[in-house]
């Protein structure tokens, strides 16, 4: 789960990291009032859960409250990489003497947290990594010991941070690591951490991603999820415990397991169709979950055929079959459906489907057979 910039920075502030004194506006008038209250020039920043908003024109400088109102009006409602801007952050503009990068993330290859710093922070940090990776100083962190002060000194020394800023930098790096580990974050990043006009460090932009698996013990963070900018189907899917991503194709897919779901999507393409979605009903899914999944798939108007591919392990084919029948009682559909059930309790599952005698539903023995039938069926519907 990703947090907005303003949410991340507020979290950072709780850990003693200095941030600008801005606030969030939802309409231009509010932007005007915040800018007036702050006095002086401000930055109007789109709050969207995607990268590259600066390059997309979602960050603008404003010298007066009137100008802030005008910029907010331009930015609110903008579409940045399919994310609609519903909120802007109004921060006081800072004089920037230097831009530093500071981030903590999980290094899955090393299986340890990793803290990184660079004197060349800002939007082009990935380019810095490509061209001169030695300019990014890296320290792996022992998850039991946590970030040690000497490691922070290694970073400060490595990026040639002026001595007089080491104390501030220590406090910020310690705070960032604590914010990361105590939030079960997979990413906590300040980019840029600037040296401002008064010669102090200030976190002018921040990002955090929280491990979805840990939200059960992070109720405060779980509540911060912003579903307003996300498609309703994805919100509904999450509530039902399903993993769903909408795509542009015409074959609705319901599969158990992420790997098999991806392979099933790949198969529809191999046979000349394209997937309408990624949908993993997860391990051990029961009837109600399957019913919810089918409802979500059928809401998509692009769907011309539905492909069920269930390979039972912890999931039982009979439970899935019951779910399909139950869902079809509730959500009537004339769309062609192809069902493949293999694995745990497959005979029982197939018997349930056969006995229900649904005219627009056919079975399939292999994955290739199922994908081919679904692609053909979708083509006939279109034709």
């Amino acid at each position: 789960m990703n947090l907005h910039e303003y949410q991340s920075k507020l979290r950072f502030a709780e850990y003693g990291i200095p941030i600008p004194k801005g606030r969030v506006a939802r309409d231009p008038q509010e932007a005007y009032e915040i800018a007036k209250e702050l006095g002086g020039p401000v930055v109007v920043k789109a709050q969207v859960l995607t990268g590259g908003r600066g390059k997309a024109g979602g960050v603008k400088l404003a010298r007066t409250p009137e100008e802030a109102q005008q910029r907010a009006d331009e930015i609110l409602g903008m579409n940045i990489k399919d994310h609609k801007v519903l909120k802007v952050l109004i921060d006081p503009a800072s004089e920037i003497r230097a831009e530093i990068y500071l981030g903590v993330t999980n290094d899955r290859a090393a299986r340890k947290p990793l803290i990184m710093a660079s004197a060349e922070g800002g939007m082009d940090i990935e380019e810095v990594n490509r061209v001169s990776p030695e300019k990014i100083i890296r320290e792996h962190i022992d998850p039991f010991l946590g970030l040690r002060d000497y490691q922070i000194r290694n970073l400060a020394y490595g990026i040639e941070l002026p001595r007089e800023l080491w104390k501030q930098f220590m406090q910020i790096a310690r705070g960032l690591y604590r914010a990361y580990s105590e939030s079960d974050a997979t990413l906590a990043e300040i980019n840029p951490l600037i040296i401002d006009g008064s010669g102090n460090l200030l976190a002018v932009d921040g990002k955090m991603s929280i491990d979805d698996n840990a939200l059960f013990r992070q109720p405060q963070l779980a509540e911060m999820r912003d579903t307003s900018a996300e498609p309703t189907a994805e919100t509904e899917a999450r509530a039902a415990g399903l993993s769903y991503v909408k795509l542009d194709g015409e074959i609705g897919c319901m599969v158990n397991g992420a790997g098999l779901a991806m392979a099933t999507m790949d198969m529809t393409k191999l046979f000349g169709g394209s997937p309408a979605n990624f949908l993993d009903i997860g391990g051990g899914a029961k009837a109600d979950k399957v019913a919810a999944a089918l409802r979500i798939i059928l809401v998509d108007p692009n769907v011309k055929a539905v492909l069920f591919n269930i390979f039972g392990g912890i999931t039982r084919c009979d439970e899935v079959a019951l779910g399909i029948i139950e869902a079809l009682d509730e959500v009537k559909t004339g769309l062609p459906m192809v069902v493949r059930l293999v694995g745990t309790n497959e005979e029982e599952g197939r018997r349930i489907i056969d006995e229900a005698n649904i005219p627009n539903m056919v079975g399939a023995a292999t994955l290739a057979d199922a994908a081919r039938k679904a692609v053909e069926a979708a083509r006939n519907v279109q034709g």
Partner: protein, 285 residues
């Protein structure tokens, strides 16, 4: 021959009295696995499926001589279950549980590195040595004994491939699901090395998916250290790129991790990559 587990492996079930634990223990026993007992705190002294239940792994190990454990406990308790098995000196720990926080797994890794235990998973289907033992949730009837080793990051996709092999009369030595989480106990290279060392394994199937760089590393290992033929499948060619936030991920992984990258790396290592799972048997002649 096989790797990791065979008919002599003495298996303990952590979470034996839970719904999933009970269901799959029954299937493991039916398959012929030597399940010697189970652990559920607070239920020590009871019997389920004819097996004794203990309160702690330590007590269970002392009483049964178990050398392997399969964990079916919920995510909130699974980390503790892994630590308990490590502390009791269980040699092979298979954690089926899905949804363990990454931070917990990074700590588990540190503990494992200082122990003699091997962890398979979490978030995995476990392993299956056809005709001998099943430690986990892979459906037993889809596999048959033979000379192909299977290693996979996926769950159900593994079944798909094993089933396709069996349909074509190609049997397996051992099928290992290493799990799809970012941090796990055993990686591709660990298992590839075991297959390389196992005299019964003649060829290996590797099943990967997008994300991370484990497949790329496996490709380098295959090129440098394997004499046996390896064929592969990578899932996720039509998956949309993730909604990436921040730059740290890109800095650490350098933009790698797409299906194209992985397939290119495997091809460069001389590994043939199937277009779809059911094509794998054709590549193994």
């Amino acid at each position: 021959m096989s790797i990791l587990a065979d008919e002599s492996t003495r298996v303990l079930i952590q979470g034996i009295t839970g719904r999933e634990g009970l269901f799959h223990t029954e299937q493991m026993i039916e398959y012929g696995t030597d399940v010697v007992g189970g652990v559920t705190p607070g239920k020590g002294g009871e019997w389920v499926l004819g097996k004794p239940v203990f309160d702690t792994v330590k007590a269970a190990r002392e009483s049964t001589g178990a050398n392997a454990s399969v964990i079916y406990v919920p995510a909130g308790f699974a980390t503790d279950a892994i630590y308990e098995a490590v502390d009791a000196g269980i040699e092979l720990i298979v954690c089926i549980t899905e949804g363990i926080p990454v931070m917990d797994m990074m700590k588990v890794r540190e503990q494992l590195d200082q122990s003699t235990s091997r962890l398979i998973g979490p978030n995995c289907p476990g392993l299956l040595t056809p005709g001998e033992a099943k430690l986990g949730i892979m459906p037993g009837h889809i596999a048959m004994p033979g000379n192909v080793g299977v290693v996979s990051r996926s769950g159900t996709l593994t079944y798909e491939v094993v089933y396709a092999l069996t349909q074509k009369g190609i049997g397996q030595t051992t099928c290992v699901g290493i799990g799809g989480d970012p941090v796990n106990g055993t990686n591709f290279i660990d298992v590839l090395q075991m297959f390389e060392d196992d005299p019964a394994t003649e060829q290996v199937v590797l099943i990967g998916e997008i994300g991370g760089t484990d497949e790329e590393k496996a490709a380098r290992f295959i090129a440098s250290s394997m004499t046996k033929r390896v064929v592969a499948f990578i899932a996720g060619q039509t998956a949309p790129p993730g909604k990436r936030m921040g730059h740290a991920g890109a800095i650490v992984e350098g933009g790698a991790g797409t299906a194209e990258d992985k397939i290119a790396a495997l091809n460069a290592a001389g590994v043939r990559v199937a277009e779809h799972p059911e094509q794998i048997p054709d590549l193994l002649v």
